[in-house]
């Protein structure tokens, strides 16, 4: 599955797109990302699956597109 990364999270993860095929749920995906990129815990962001915002844990398919979106303060 494709994980799109935005804003300051791009600096934390080092790229704007991550390809992953091991996670079956959003919790599993976030756990993997937090383990791989520990600095992620310093940032608040919202999770979108196929452009829709999720609340809580949801099932993920390999074809899903996940977006990690922090707010941007700059103006």
């Amino acid at each position: 599955m494709k994980v799109l990364v935005f804003g300051v999270l791009t600096d934390v993860i080092g790229q704007s797109t991550v390809e992953l095929n091991s996670a079956h749920s959003s919790d599993e995906l976030l756990q993997y990302l937090h383990n791989t990129y520990p600095f992620l815990k310093n940032y608040r962001f919202e999770v979108f699956v196929n452009q829709e915002k999720i609340e809580g844990n949801v099932h993920l398919n390999d074809t899903d597109e996940v977006a990690l979106l922090p707010p941007y303060s700059g103006g």
Binding site: L4, F6, G7, V8, T10, S16, N42, Y43, R44, E46, F48, Q51, E52, K53, A67, L69, P70, P71, Y72, S73, G74, G75
Partner: protein, 251 residues
């Protein structure tokens, strides 16, 4: 009513079938308040002024800094150290003599937001910190006014119209909690490419013109995510969350 000189001035816009004289008159009768006269606020103000939005308000407490000049292109070397709102006001007066302008040289806070906003139809969020963005959102929800949001980070921008009507999502529906950690992330810390606020600010101005004239499809219920480095434009969908309160102004 538009005068003949005004009709001549806006002719290329009036020519558009979607605008016509009626749309130009709607623009003349509109009152728009822009919070922040920086990277986003300056292009918003310049384009709305040129397009003939009849009444524009400018809110900014800050002074022009030398490090603003690469992206806040309305300002020149001689403006460094001067109050932003007043400098922009003076430049816009030169730009279009047919519109009314007001500058508010103050910091937006919970004490003055409702009074400031009440005189305007549309509020444009061109601020540079989360505290102000939540105040703008909450005041817009409380007063039932659209909030045209823009936010930038390095090479990326977010743009959306919140609170267009009572069913449309608000800023808190997208980002419900304030982030104290993230508050320190702004252009002065991270840097920003000079053209980015011009692109996002112009998109915000475009939404304002559409809201006023009722044309096209307003970016409501979604958010545009622009990346100037990769030239990508993504979009996410948003829904009104009735459980989200406008905590600064209850009731």
């Amino acid at each position: 009513m538009l005068t003949q000189p005004e009709i001549n001035r806006y002719r290329r816009q009036i020519q558009l079938n979607e605008i016509q004289l009626k749309g130009q008159e709607q623009l003349k009768n509109a009152k728009v308040l822009v919070i922040g006269a920086g990277g986003l606020g300056c292009p918003v103000l310049q384009y709305l002024c040129a397009a003939g939005v009849g009444h524009l308000g400018i809110v900014d407490f800050d002074l022009v800094d030398e490090t603003n000049l690469h992206r806040q292109v309305i300002f020149g070397d001689d403006d460094v150290g001067k109050p932003k709102a007043r400098v922009v006001y003076q430049k816009l007066i030169q730009q279009n003599k047919y519109i009314k302008l007001e500058h508010h040289d103050c910091k937006l806070d919970v004490g003055n937001a409702l009074e400031l906003f009440s005189a305007y139809h549309i509020i444009v969020d061109c601020s540079d910190n989360f505290e102000t963005r939540y105040i703008i959102n909450d005041a817009c929800v409380h007063l039932k006014k659209p909030m045209v949001y823009g936010g930038i980070h390095k090479f990326e921008g977010q743009m959306a119209v919140f609170n267009l009507n009572q069913n449309s999502p608000t800023y808190r529906c997208a980002f419900p909690e304030k982030s104290a950690d993230a508050d320190i992330i702004n252009c002065s810390i991270t840097g920003v490419l000079g053209t980015l606020p011009g692109i996002i600010g112009t998109m915000q101005a475009n939404e304002v013109l559409k809201i006023i004239t009722g044309i096209g499809e307003v970016v409501s219920g979604k958010m545009i995510l622009y990346n100037g480095l990769n030239n990508t434009m993504n979009q996410i969908n948003l829904r009104r969350n009735k459980d989200v309160l406008c905590s600064h102004f209850t009731g």
